[in-house]
Symmetry: none
Subunit: 223 residues, 2 copies
Protein backbone atom coordinates (compact mmCIF):
# COMPACT_ATOMS: atom_id res chain seq x y z
CA UNK A 1 0.00 0.00 0.00
CA UNK A 2 1.38 3.32 -1.09
CA UNK A 3 0.46 6.45 0.83
CA UNK A 4 1.10 10.12 0.14
CA UNK A 5 1.32 12.35 3.20
CA UNK A 6 0.83 16.06 2.49
CA UNK A 7 1.73 18.04 5.60
CA UNK A 8 3.84 21.18 6.02
CA UNK A 9 4.65 20.78 9.70
CA UNK A 10 7.78 18.63 9.65
CA UNK A 11 7.25 17.19 13.10
CA UNK A 12 3.69 16.04 12.42
CA UNK A 13 4.77 14.74 9.05
CA UNK A 14 7.43 12.54 10.52
CA UNK A 15 5.06 11.27 13.21
CA UNK A 16 2.54 10.38 10.55
CA UNK A 17 5.15 8.66 8.51
CA UNK A 18 6.35 6.59 11.46
CA UNK A 19 2.86 5.54 12.48
CA UNK A 20 1.78 4.60 8.97
CA UNK A 21 4.98 2.75 8.23
CA UNK A 22 4.70 0.70 11.37
CA UNK A 23 1.22 -0.23 10.15
CA UNK A 24 2.70 -1.61 6.95
CA UNK A 25 2.21 1.29 4.54
CA UNK A 26 4.87 2.62 2.22
CA UNK A 27 4.92 6.37 2.84
CA UNK A 28 5.95 9.31 0.69
CA UNK A 29 5.84 12.85 2.04
CA UNK A 30 5.40 16.25 0.51
CA UNK A 31 5.30 19.64 2.19
CA UNK A 32 3.57 22.07 -0.17
CA UNK A 33 0.48 22.25 -2.34
CA UNK A 34 2.11 22.55 -5.74
CA UNK A 35 4.14 19.38 -5.38
CA UNK A 36 1.22 17.58 -3.79
CA UNK A 37 -0.96 18.40 -6.76
CA UNK A 38 1.65 17.17 -9.21
CA UNK A 39 2.34 13.95 -7.31
CA UNK A 40 -1.30 13.09 -6.76
CA UNK A 41 -2.03 13.71 -10.42
CA UNK A 42 0.76 11.61 -11.86
CA UNK A 43 1.44 8.84 -9.35
CA UNK A 44 -0.77 6.01 -8.20
CA UNK A 45 -1.51 6.05 -4.48
CA UNK A 46 -3.77 3.81 -2.46
CA UNK A 47 -4.41 6.63 -0.03
CA UNK A 48 -3.62 10.33 0.50
CA UNK A 49 -3.44 12.03 3.89
CA UNK A 50 -3.97 15.72 3.22
CA UNK A 51 -3.53 18.71 5.51
CA UNK A 52 -5.56 21.74 4.46
CA UNK A 53 -3.21 24.53 5.56
CA UNK A 54 -0.45 24.39 2.97
CA UNK A 55 2.04 26.85 1.49
CA UNK A 56 1.84 27.79 -2.22
CA UNK A 57 -1.49 26.06 -2.93
CA UNK A 58 -4.40 25.46 -0.57
CA UNK A 59 -5.25 21.85 0.28
CA UNK A 60 -8.89 22.21 -0.74
CA UNK A 61 -7.85 23.51 -4.14
CA UNK A 62 -5.47 20.63 -4.61
CA UNK A 63 -8.22 18.17 -3.77
CA UNK A 64 -10.70 19.79 -6.14
CA UNK A 65 -8.17 19.70 -8.97
CA UNK A 66 -7.50 16.03 -8.40
CA UNK A 67 -11.18 15.21 -8.47
CA UNK A 68 -11.66 17.44 -11.49
CA UNK A 69 -9.05 15.36 -13.26
CA UNK A 70 -10.82 12.14 -12.36
CA UNK A 71 -8.39 11.01 -9.68
CA UNK A 72 -10.45 8.82 -7.40
CA UNK A 73 -8.04 7.60 -4.73
CA UNK A 74 -9.32 7.86 -1.15
CA UNK A 75 -8.31 11.07 0.58
CA UNK A 76 -8.19 11.59 4.34
CA UNK A 77 -8.24 15.27 5.25
CA UNK A 78 -6.75 16.74 8.42
CA UNK A 79 -8.65 19.79 9.68
CA UNK A 80 -8.34 22.24 12.56
CA UNK A 81 -10.43 21.39 15.62
CA UNK A 82 -13.98 22.64 15.60
CA UNK A 83 -13.93 24.09 12.11
CA UNK A 84 -17.00 22.27 11.00
CA UNK A 85 -17.64 24.55 8.03
CA UNK A 86 -14.21 23.57 6.76
CA UNK A 87 -15.10 19.93 7.20
CA UNK A 88 -18.27 20.18 5.18
CA UNK A 89 -16.39 22.06 2.51
CA UNK A 90 -13.71 19.41 2.43
CA UNK A 91 -16.18 16.60 2.14
CA UNK A 92 -18.05 18.39 -0.62
CA UNK A 93 -14.76 18.87 -2.44
CA UNK A 94 -14.43 15.12 -2.59
CA UNK A 95 -12.69 14.09 0.63
CA UNK A 96 -13.50 10.58 1.75
CA UNK A 97 -12.93 11.27 5.41
CA UNK A 98 -11.46 13.85 7.75
CA UNK A 99 -9.76 13.85 11.10
CA UNK A 100 -9.81 16.87 13.41
CA UNK A 101 -6.46 17.93 14.85
CA UNK A 102 -5.12 17.01 17.29
CA UNK A 103 -5.76 13.29 16.90
CA UNK A 104 -4.40 10.02 18.15
CA UNK A 105 -2.15 8.08 15.85
CA UNK A 106 -4.06 4.87 16.53
CA UNK A 107 -7.17 6.47 15.21
CA UNK A 108 -5.52 7.78 12.11
CA UNK A 109 -4.15 4.36 11.33
CA UNK A 110 -7.50 2.71 11.93
CA UNK A 111 -9.23 5.13 9.56
CA UNK A 112 -6.52 4.79 6.96
CA UNK A 113 -6.99 1.04 6.98
CA UNK A 114 -10.76 1.43 6.71
CA UNK A 115 -10.45 3.76 3.72
CA UNK A 116 -8.08 1.49 1.85
CA UNK A 117 -10.18 -1.54 2.62
CA UNK A 118 -13.27 0.11 1.23
CA UNK A 119 -11.72 1.44 -1.94
CA UNK A 120 -10.30 -1.96 -2.78
CA UNK A 121 -12.27 -4.56 -4.62
CA UNK A 122 -14.04 -2.31 -7.07
CA UNK A 123 -13.86 -2.46 -10.81
CA UNK A 124 -15.82 -4.39 -13.34
CA UNK A 125 -15.82 -8.14 -13.49
CA UNK A 126 -14.59 -8.86 -17.00
CA UNK A 127 -14.49 -12.38 -18.33
CA UNK A 128 -12.92 -13.34 -21.63
CA UNK A 129 -12.77 -16.26 -23.99
CA UNK A 130 -10.85 -15.78 -27.20
CA UNK A 131 -12.12 -12.66 -28.91
CA UNK A 132 -15.24 -12.54 -26.80
CA UNK A 133 -15.49 -10.57 -23.57
CA UNK A 134 -18.41 -10.14 -21.23
CA UNK A 135 -18.68 -7.58 -18.45
CA UNK A 136 -20.99 -8.99 -15.82
CA UNK A 137 -21.31 -5.65 -14.05
CA UNK A 138 -22.51 -3.66 -17.00
CA UNK A 139 -24.11 -6.64 -18.66
CA UNK A 140 -22.19 -5.85 -21.79
CA UNK A 141 -20.82 -8.16 -24.40
CA UNK A 142 -18.01 -7.22 -26.72
CA UNK A 143 -16.31 -8.94 -29.61
CA UNK A 144 -12.79 -7.90 -30.55
CA UNK A 145 -13.35 -4.85 -28.37
CA UNK A 146 -16.49 -3.83 -30.22
CA UNK A 147 -19.67 -3.64 -28.13
CA UNK A 148 -22.31 -6.12 -29.17
CA UNK A 149 -26.02 -5.79 -28.57
CA UNK A 150 -27.50 -9.03 -27.26
CA UNK A 151 -30.92 -9.89 -25.89
CA UNK A 152 -31.54 -11.02 -22.33
CA UNK A 153 -31.77 -14.67 -23.31
CA UNK A 154 -28.66 -14.53 -25.45
CA UNK A 155 -26.85 -12.90 -22.59
CA UNK A 156 -27.83 -15.64 -20.19
CA UNK A 157 -26.63 -18.26 -22.62
CA UNK A 158 -23.30 -16.55 -23.14
CA UNK A 159 -22.67 -15.97 -19.48
CA UNK A 160 -23.35 -19.60 -18.69
CA UNK A 161 -21.01 -20.78 -21.38
CA UNK A 162 -18.43 -18.28 -20.16
CA UNK A 163 -18.74 -19.55 -16.63
CA UNK A 164 -17.94 -23.04 -17.83
CA UNK A 165 -15.66 -22.20 -20.71
CA UNK A 166 -13.35 -25.09 -19.90
CA UNK A 167 -15.81 -27.76 -20.92
CA UNK A 168 -18.52 -28.67 -23.39
CA UNK A 169 -22.05 -28.03 -22.21
CA UNK A 170 -24.73 -30.55 -23.19
CA UNK A 171 -27.97 -29.11 -24.54
CA UNK A 172 -29.97 -30.58 -21.65
CA UNK A 173 -27.90 -28.64 -19.17
CA UNK A 174 -28.36 -25.42 -21.10
CA UNK A 175 -32.09 -25.94 -21.43
CA UNK A 176 -32.32 -26.60 -17.73
CA UNK A 177 -30.37 -23.47 -16.94
CA UNK A 178 -32.03 -21.11 -19.40
CA UNK A 179 -35.54 -22.23 -18.63
CA UNK A 180 -36.69 -23.99 -15.52
CA UNK A 181 -37.65 -27.61 -15.29
CA UNK A 182 -41.28 -26.59 -15.06
CA UNK A 183 -41.64 -24.76 -18.35
CA UNK A 184 -39.47 -27.01 -20.43
CA UNK A 185 -38.87 -25.92 -24.00
CA UNK A 186 -38.04 -28.33 -26.70
CA UNK A 187 -34.48 -28.59 -27.90
CA UNK A 188 -35.12 -26.57 -31.01
CA UNK A 189 -35.68 -23.42 -28.98
CA UNK A 190 -32.09 -23.60 -27.89
CA UNK A 191 -30.90 -24.20 -31.42
CA UNK A 192 -32.78 -21.13 -32.53
CA UNK A 193 -31.10 -18.99 -29.91
CA UNK A 194 -27.72 -20.34 -30.89
CA UNK A 195 -28.37 -19.61 -34.53
CA UNK A 196 -29.40 -16.02 -33.87
CA UNK A 197 -26.38 -15.52 -31.66
CA UNK A 198 -24.02 -16.90 -34.26
CA UNK A 199 -25.39 -14.46 -36.79
CA UNK A 200 -24.18 -11.70 -34.50
CA UNK A 201 -20.94 -13.32 -33.41
CA UNK A 202 -19.72 -14.60 -36.73
CA UNK A 203 -17.92 -17.92 -37.19
CA UNK A 204 -15.47 -19.56 -34.79
CA UNK A 205 -16.83 -18.15 -31.55
CA UNK A 206 -19.68 -20.36 -30.45
CA UNK A 207 -18.79 -23.92 -31.31
CA UNK A 208 -20.69 -27.21 -31.52
CA UNK A 209 -19.41 -30.68 -30.81
CA UNK A 210 -21.86 -33.00 -32.43
CA UNK A 211 -23.40 -35.35 -29.87
CA UNK A 212 -21.87 -33.50 -26.91
CA UNK A 213 -22.94 -29.89 -26.80
CA UNK A 214 -21.87 -26.27 -27.17
CA UNK A 215 -18.76 -24.39 -26.08
CA UNK A 216 -16.84 -21.15 -26.53
CA UNK A 217 -13.74 -21.02 -28.70
CA UNK A 218 -10.98 -21.57 -27.94
CA UNK A 219 -11.55 -24.61 -25.79
CA UNK A 220 -8.28 -25.48 -24.06
CA UNK A 221 -5.69 -27.84 -25.56
CA UNK A 222 -7.25 -30.76 -27.35
CA UNK A 223 -10.35 -30.44 -29.50
Amino acid sequence: MRVLVVEDDARIASDLKAALESAGFRVESCGDGENAWFLGDTEEYDLVVLDLGLPRLDGLTVLKRWRGNGREMPVLVLTARGAWAERVEGIDAGADDYLPKPFRMEELVARARALVRRSAGRGSALQEAGELAIDTNRMFVSLRGVPLSVTALEYRLLSYLMLHKDRIIPPVELLEHLYGDEDAREANALEAVVARLRRKLGPNVLGTRRGFGYFLEPLGPGR
Copy 2:
Protein backbone atom coordinates in the same frame (compact mmCIF):
# COMPACT_ATOMS: atom_id res chain seq x y z
CA MET B 1 -31.23 6.67 -2.21
CA ARG B 2 -32.49 4.47 0.56
CA VAL B 3 -31.25 5.07 4.11
CA LEU B 4 -31.78 3.16 7.34
CA VAL B 5 -31.64 5.26 10.51
CA VAL B 6 -31.05 3.27 13.68
CA GLU B 7 -31.63 5.52 16.68
CA ASP B 8 -33.56 4.89 19.90
CA ASP B 9 -34.11 8.52 20.87
CA ALA B 10 -37.32 9.37 19.05
CA ARG B 11 -36.60 13.08 18.85
CA ILE B 12 -33.16 12.66 17.32
CA ALA B 13 -34.53 10.00 15.01
CA SER B 14 -37.20 12.28 13.65
CA ASP B 15 -34.71 15.13 13.23
CA LEU B 16 -32.42 12.83 11.31
CA LYS B 17 -35.26 11.63 9.16
CA ALA B 18 -36.36 15.17 8.34
CA ALA B 19 -32.85 16.34 7.49
CA LEU B 20 -32.07 13.34 5.29
CA GLU B 21 -35.41 13.45 3.53
CA SER B 22 -35.01 17.08 2.66
CA ALA B 23 -31.68 16.11 1.13
CA GLY B 24 -33.46 13.70 -1.20
CA PHE B 25 -33.00 10.45 0.67
CA ARG B 26 -35.73 7.97 1.33
CA VAL B 27 -35.55 7.22 5.04
CA GLU B 28 -36.62 4.22 7.08
CA SER B 29 -36.22 4.23 10.84
CA CYS B 30 -35.76 1.59 13.46
CA GLY B 31 -35.37 1.97 17.19
CA ASP B 32 -33.72 -1.17 18.52
CA GLY B 33 -30.83 -3.47 17.71
CA GLU B 34 -32.76 -6.61 16.93
CA ASN B 35 -34.85 -5.04 14.23
CA ALA B 36 -31.89 -3.10 12.91
CA TRP B 37 -29.94 -6.29 12.49
CA PHE B 38 -32.79 -7.96 10.67
CA LEU B 39 -33.45 -5.00 8.37
CA GLY B 40 -29.81 -4.41 7.51
CA ASP B 41 -29.39 -8.08 6.78
CA THR B 42 -32.37 -8.50 4.52
CA GLU B 43 -32.92 -5.14 2.81
CA GLU B 44 -30.79 -3.18 0.37
CA TYR B 45 -29.73 0.20 1.70
CA ASP B 46 -27.41 2.78 0.20
CA LEU B 47 -26.45 3.96 3.67
CA VAL B 48 -27.03 3.17 7.34
CA VAL B 49 -26.86 5.73 10.13
CA LEU B 50 -26.21 3.77 13.30
CA ASP B 51 -26.35 4.88 16.91
CA LEU B 52 -24.29 2.68 19.22
CA GLY B 53 -26.41 2.86 22.38
CA LEU B 54 -29.37 0.67 21.52
CA PRO B 55 -31.88 -1.42 23.45
CA ARG B 56 -31.97 -5.21 22.99
CA LEU B 57 -28.79 -5.47 20.95
CA ASP B 58 -25.72 -3.24 21.00
CA GLY B 59 -24.94 -1.22 17.87
CA LEU B 60 -21.40 -2.53 17.59
CA THR B 61 -22.65 -6.09 17.72
CA VAL B 62 -25.20 -5.35 15.03
CA LEU B 63 -22.51 -3.88 12.82
CA LYS B 64 -20.17 -6.82 13.33
CA ARG B 65 -22.91 -9.28 12.47
CA TRP B 66 -23.71 -7.40 9.27
CA ARG B 67 -20.09 -7.42 8.21
CA GLY B 68 -19.75 -11.03 9.21
CA ASN B 69 -22.60 -11.80 6.86
CA GLY B 70 -20.92 -9.96 4.04
CA ARG B 71 -23.14 -6.88 4.09
CA GLU B 72 -21.07 -4.07 2.60
CA MET B 73 -23.27 -1.00 2.68
CA PRO B 74 -21.63 2.15 4.07
CA VAL B 75 -22.33 2.70 7.75
CA LEU B 76 -22.10 6.03 9.55
CA VAL B 77 -21.79 5.55 13.30
CA LEU B 78 -22.96 8.08 15.88
CA THR B 79 -20.81 8.02 19.02
CA ALA B 80 -20.75 9.84 22.34
CA ARG B 81 -18.39 12.79 22.52
CA GLY B 82 -14.80 11.96 23.37
CA ALA B 83 -15.18 8.22 23.47
CA TRP B 84 -11.93 7.40 21.69
CA ALA B 85 -11.94 3.70 22.29
CA GLU B 86 -15.48 3.43 21.02
CA ARG B 87 -14.59 5.16 17.78
CA VAL B 88 -11.60 2.99 17.00
CA GLU B 89 -13.59 -0.06 17.95
CA GLY B 90 -16.39 1.04 15.66
CA ILE B 91 -14.09 1.55 12.72
CA ASP B 92 -12.46 -1.80 13.25
CA ALA B 93 -15.89 -3.37 13.43
CA GLY B 94 -16.46 -2.14 9.90
CA ALA B 95 -17.86 1.37 10.23
CA ASP B 96 -17.03 3.64 7.34
CA ASP B 97 -17.28 6.87 9.27
CA TYR B 98 -18.38 8.20 12.60
CA LEU B 99 -19.83 11.42 13.90
CA PRO B 100 -19.49 12.47 17.53
CA LYS B 101 -22.66 13.67 19.26
CA PRO B 102 -23.78 16.36 19.37
CA PHE B 103 -23.43 17.26 15.72
CA ARG B 104 -24.91 19.66 13.19
CA MET B 105 -27.44 18.27 10.79
CA GLU B 106 -25.68 19.95 7.88
CA GLU B 107 -22.57 18.01 8.66
CA LEU B 108 -24.38 14.74 8.98
CA VAL B 109 -26.04 15.29 5.62
CA ALA B 110 -22.75 16.23 3.99
CA ARG B 111 -21.08 13.11 5.29
CA ALA B 112 -24.02 10.96 4.32
CA ARG B 113 -23.78 12.21 0.75
CA ALA B 114 -20.04 11.72 0.74
CA LEU B 115 -20.33 8.15 2.00
CA VAL B 116 -22.89 7.23 -0.60
CA ARG B 117 -20.73 8.71 -3.34
CA ARG B 118 -17.62 7.01 -2.08
CA SER B 119 -19.27 3.64 -1.82
CA ALA B 120 -19.96 3.83 -5.53
CA GLY B 121 -16.43 4.97 -6.30
CA ARG B 122 -17.37 8.53 -7.05
CA GLY B 123 -15.33 11.36 -5.60
CA SER B 124 -17.02 14.49 -6.75
CA ALA B 125 -20.45 15.81 -5.81
CA LEU B 126 -20.92 17.05 -9.36
CA GLN B 127 -21.68 14.11 -11.61
CA GLU B 128 -22.12 14.16 -15.36
CA ALA B 129 -23.31 11.72 -17.97
CA GLY B 130 -23.41 12.96 -21.50
CA GLU B 131 -25.42 16.16 -21.60
CA LEU B 132 -26.87 15.62 -18.16
CA ALA B 133 -25.30 16.99 -14.97
CA ILE B 134 -26.44 16.70 -11.39
CA ASP B 135 -25.08 18.41 -8.29
CA THR B 136 -25.92 16.24 -5.30
CA ASN B 137 -25.07 18.96 -2.83
CA ARG B 138 -27.59 21.43 -4.14
CA MET B 139 -30.00 18.87 -5.57
CA PHE B 140 -29.67 20.61 -8.88
CA VAL B 141 -30.10 19.06 -12.31
CA SER B 142 -29.08 20.58 -15.62
CA LEU B 143 -29.23 19.51 -19.24
CA ARG B 144 -26.81 20.98 -21.75
CA GLY B 145 -26.05 23.61 -19.12
CA VAL B 146 -29.69 24.62 -18.80
CA PRO B 147 -31.25 24.17 -15.36
CA LEU B 148 -33.98 21.57 -15.29
CA SER B 149 -36.81 21.41 -12.82
CA VAL B 150 -37.47 17.90 -11.60
CA THR B 151 -39.75 16.52 -8.89
CA ALA B 152 -38.46 14.79 -5.75
CA LEU B 153 -39.12 11.36 -7.17
CA GLU B 154 -37.54 12.16 -10.50
CA TYR B 155 -34.51 13.48 -8.68
CA ARG B 156 -34.12 10.30 -6.70
CA LEU B 157 -34.31 8.25 -9.86
CA LEU B 158 -31.75 10.38 -11.64
CA SER B 159 -29.33 10.49 -8.74
CA TYR B 160 -29.44 6.73 -8.39
CA LEU B 161 -28.84 6.20 -12.08
CA MET B 162 -26.05 8.74 -12.00
CA LEU B 163 -24.39 7.07 -9.05
CA HIS B 164 -24.34 3.84 -11.02
CA LYS B 165 -23.92 5.27 -14.48
CA ASP B 166 -21.42 2.59 -15.45
CA ARG B 167 -23.99 -0.16 -15.52
CA ILE B 168 -27.57 -0.99 -16.41
CA ILE B 169 -30.01 -0.87 -13.51
CA PRO B 170 -32.74 -3.50 -13.43
CA PRO B 171 -36.25 -2.24 -12.64
CA VAL B 172 -36.42 -4.30 -9.44
CA GLU B 173 -33.38 -2.54 -8.07
CA LEU B 174 -34.81 0.86 -8.89
CA LEU B 175 -38.14 0.00 -7.31
CA GLU B 176 -36.37 -1.11 -4.18
CA HIS B 177 -34.32 2.06 -3.85
CA LEU B 178 -36.98 4.55 -4.86
CA TYR B 179 -39.62 3.06 -2.62
CA GLY B 180 -39.08 0.76 0.30
CA ASP B 181 -40.09 -2.84 0.51
CA GLU B 182 -42.98 -2.12 2.80
CA ASP B 183 -44.87 0.13 0.37
CA ALA B 184 -44.00 -1.70 -2.81
CA ARG B 185 -45.24 -0.18 -6.02
CA GLU B 186 -45.90 -2.15 -9.11
CA ALA B 187 -43.53 -1.92 -12.01
CA ASN B 188 -45.77 0.41 -13.96
CA ALA B 189 -45.24 3.20 -11.43
CA LEU B 190 -41.59 3.22 -12.41
CA GLU B 191 -42.43 3.23 -16.09
CA ALA B 192 -44.66 6.24 -15.53
CA VAL B 193 -41.87 8.16 -13.82
CA VAL B 194 -39.49 7.30 -16.61
CA ALA B 195 -41.97 8.46 -19.22
CA ARG B 196 -42.55 11.78 -17.50
CA LEU B 197 -38.83 12.29 -17.08
CA ARG B 198 -38.16 11.56 -20.71
CA ARG B 199 -40.66 14.18 -21.70
CA LYS B 200 -38.44 16.68 -19.90
CA LEU B 201 -35.11 15.24 -20.93
CA GLY B 202 -35.82 14.60 -24.56
CA PRO B 203 -34.49 11.58 -26.45
CA ASN B 204 -31.13 9.89 -25.97
CA VAL B 205 -30.62 10.65 -22.30
CA LEU B 206 -32.44 8.03 -20.30
CA GLY B 207 -32.10 4.76 -22.13
CA THR B 208 -33.74 1.34 -21.93
CA ARG B 209 -32.31 -2.05 -22.69
CA ARG B 210 -35.23 -4.38 -23.07
CA GLY B 211 -35.00 -7.22 -20.59
CA PHE B 212 -32.17 -5.57 -18.66
CA GLY B 213 -33.15 -2.18 -17.31
CA TYR B 214 -32.50 1.54 -17.48
CA PHE B 215 -29.31 3.56 -17.84
CA LEU B 216 -27.96 7.02 -18.62
CA GLU B 217 -26.49 7.74 -22.03
CA PRO B 218 -23.77 7.37 -22.94
CA LEU B 219 -23.02 4.08 -21.25
CA GLY B 220 -19.46 2.94 -21.72
CA PRO B 221 -17.93 2.58 -25.18
CA GLY B 222 -20.52 2.56 -27.90
CA ARG B 223 -24.19 1.61 -28.01
